[in-house]
């Protein structure tokens, strides 16, 4: 009874057994278009408000098209916070160091957990997994005290040092190496006399380069978007990260939506540009890491 008709309307070579295209198509595309609209709209709105000014959007119906005041609003942002560019640079600096360090430490530890046989290994992996479940805010007060003792309060070091390693990164790299690197390859290399480090460097690293890049990107994004911890430890405007800078705009006496959204736009635009280049890889990374079935 199933009407499995070979549809001539299915264009090009992609003739499949399941004729879903015809029935599901339109509705599916409408849902996807709506999702796209909802995903993009907040960014668009950020720009609309920032380019029209607060007065223009405080009326009914509000403006839905870009206005002429964008550069005025942006220069207001720089007036309130002259070091905004410095904040963006700080964020790039911290994010890059954290991303590189996390990839470096996670990959080598993940390799050891996936491919090496040493006493206590099993316990250590369990330990890593258990620590991933602890709420991250649990240790925030002692960490704050520790940063004080190390003299790192109000420095970018307070953002970098605690973020150099994460249990998640190690676990993730372990999974990746386990799934992507065939044992036989390492086996034969080591029988040919290659040492452990050599095997890691010249065989494992090239295979996991893609996944390492994805982990680095996610670490970078997480660092870029981290909000509370930088807010707690940073107080000098020259040391701010982008998020703290944007928050600073928010705490001026009356809510100036245009100013806030101008700042939000400035702090988000670099990520959007980055995403245009790496979005597809991030998608693959998320899907590779998914629990299947």
């Amino acid at each position: 009874m199933s009407s499995v008709v070979k549809e001539q309307t299915i264009p090009r070579a992609k003739v499949n057994k399941r004729p879903k295209w015809q029935r599901m198509g339109v509705g599916g595309y409408i849902v996807l278009a709506l999702t796209t609209f909802l995903s993009i709209f907040p960014f668009y709105w950020m720009f609309i408000v920032a380019s029209n000014g607060t007065d223009e959007i405080s009326k009914i119906p509000p403006t839905l098209v870009p206005g002429p005041r964008f550069f005025t609003v942006i220069s207001n942002v720089y007036e309130v916070l002259p070091s905004f560019n410095q904040a963006l640079l700080n964020t790039v600096y911290v994010g890059t160091i954290v991303a590189v360090a996390q990839v470096f430490f996670s990959a080598i530890a993940g390799f050891a957990f996936a491919k090496l046989n040493f006493r206590g290994q099993r316990f250590m992996v369990l330990f890593v997994i258990l620590t991933m479940m602890l709420p991250s805010q649990l240790g925030i007060i002692p960490l704050f005290m520790l940063m004080g003792n190390l003299g790192l309060i109000d420095t970018l070091g307070a953002l970098i040092v605690p973020a150099l390693v994460t249990a998640f990164g190690v676990f993730w790299m372990r999974q990746v190496i386990d799934a992507q690197v065939p044992n036989e390859l390492l086996e034969s290399a080591s029988i040919d006399g290659a040492g452990v480090f050599r095997v890691y460097w010249s065989l494992v690293l090239p295979i996991i380069a893609q996944s390492s890049f994805v982990l680095g990107l996610f670490s970078f994004l997480a660092t870029w978007n981290d909000f509370l911890w930088p807010l707690l430890v940073l107080s000098t405007p020259e040391h701010f990260t982008a998020q703290v800078a944007v928050n600073q705009l928010k705490s001026s006496y009356a809510i100036d939506y245009a100013l806030n959204m101008g700042g939000a736009f400035l702090s988000t635009a670099p990520l959007i540009v980055l995403f245009i280049f790496v979005g597809r890889r991030l998608v693959r990374g998320v899907m590779d890491g998914a629990v299947k079935g």
Partner: protein, 321 residues
């Protein structure tokens, strides 16, 4: 399999045989395992200092009357007793659970639905759609909370303009309890639906195609295929998304913090959450001992809920084939 003796440096036929003597049966046995200590040492050293030690110390100071000015007085479990009697704690707990429910359920339904659409092999431009789904996830909570705060504004927010144009009265989202939870939950749903849809899509793509083929040969409609083939195969993935969502959801704080502009969680604490309460006690009231006790309670709650989650899943997995 009864082979046990797998010697180090043996021929490459052996490493897959399971053995009690091995610490890692999947390892490459011809590699010198002792390097493992060196390779994992940087992680463990850094993690012990900056990850674990603060947590342990946090447990310690939870038993003290400890503030930022230097007071350090051992008071036993008094912090916990005070916490149990603290209505702000219970208010925050109820709010947290409410926001978690309001965000998790729609998020789960929407993300599975989107994944099912993307799973269609005839879909055009699937790379584009997949990439779009991840866009909300990469932006900062701060930027998005600023935008949503405006969209949910009482007088000129887009949401209220739409509500008004439908002939209803404007809602003061921030002031109301449920309405503020809806606003916060909508930010969470917006941020995580696409990400989770990709997770579900990956799981759907791993379902063997023969299952669908035989189902459609049996005359099962697409809806029935979804109910009887797709959903049961997603059980583990749903559990995973639920547990991760629960751990994150019970610690929600950034959205309410930015929406309200303070650690209070609204004028009457109507959207104060557990973690927000912790931060308020730690960095506004400077009651570090008390805040540490709140952190421990959050950990217990997360552990209990995760355990319940796990048990339900195991039961479901047992009931299913």
């Amino acid at each position: 399999m009864s082979q046990t003796a797998v010697k180090r440096n043996s021929k490459p036929t052996s490493p897959w045989k399971p053995s009690k003597k091995l610490n890692n049966a999947n390892a490459v046995q011809s590699l010198n395992g002792r390097w493992g200590y060196l390779f994992t040492a940087p992680f463990f050293v850094m993690f012990l200092i900056f990850g674990l030690a603060p947590i342990v110390y946090s447990v310690y100071i939870a038993f003290f009357n400890w503030d930022a000015l230097g007071t350090q007085e051992f008071i036993g479990i008094a912090n916990f007793n005070e916490l149990i009697a603290d209505t702000r704690f219970w208010n925050a707990l109820v709010n947290t659970v409410d926001i978690w429910l309001l965000s998790t359920i729609p998020m789960l339904i929407c993300s599975i639905g989107l994944a099912a659409i993307l799973h269609n092999p005839h879909l055009r431009g699937s790379t584009f759609w997949r990439t779009i789904l991840l866009v909300p996830n990469i932006t900062s909570v701060l930027a998005i909370a600023i935008v949503f705060g405006q969209l949910f504004g009482r007088d000129f927010g887009m949401v209220n303009i739409i509500i008004g144009s439908l002939g209803f009265d404007h809602i003061d989202f921030i002031q109301g309890t449920t309405s503020s939870h809806v606003a916060i939950a909508s930010m969470i749903v917006w941020r995580w639906t696409g990400y989770n849809a990709l997770i579900f899509l990956a799981a759907m793509l791993a379902i063997p195609g023969e299952l669908y083929e035989s189902a459609s040969l049996d005359g099962a409609s697409k809806w029935k295929q979804f109910i009887y083939v797709t959903l049961p195969s997603l059980r583990n993935t749903i559990t995973f998304v639920l547990i991760v969502g629960t751990i994150g959801g019970l610690q929600v704080f950034a959205e309410p913090l930015i929406l309200g502009g303070s650690y209070n969680g609204g004028d009457s604490g109507q959207f104060s959450t557990l973690t927000l309460f912790l931060f308020e006690q730690a960095f506004v009231a400077y009651k570090w001992g008390y805040a540490a006790a709140i952190g421990i309670m959050i950990t217990f709650i997360v552990a209990i809920v995760s355990f319940i989650n796990f048990m339900i899943t195991r039961k479901l997995a047992g009931d299913g084939k």
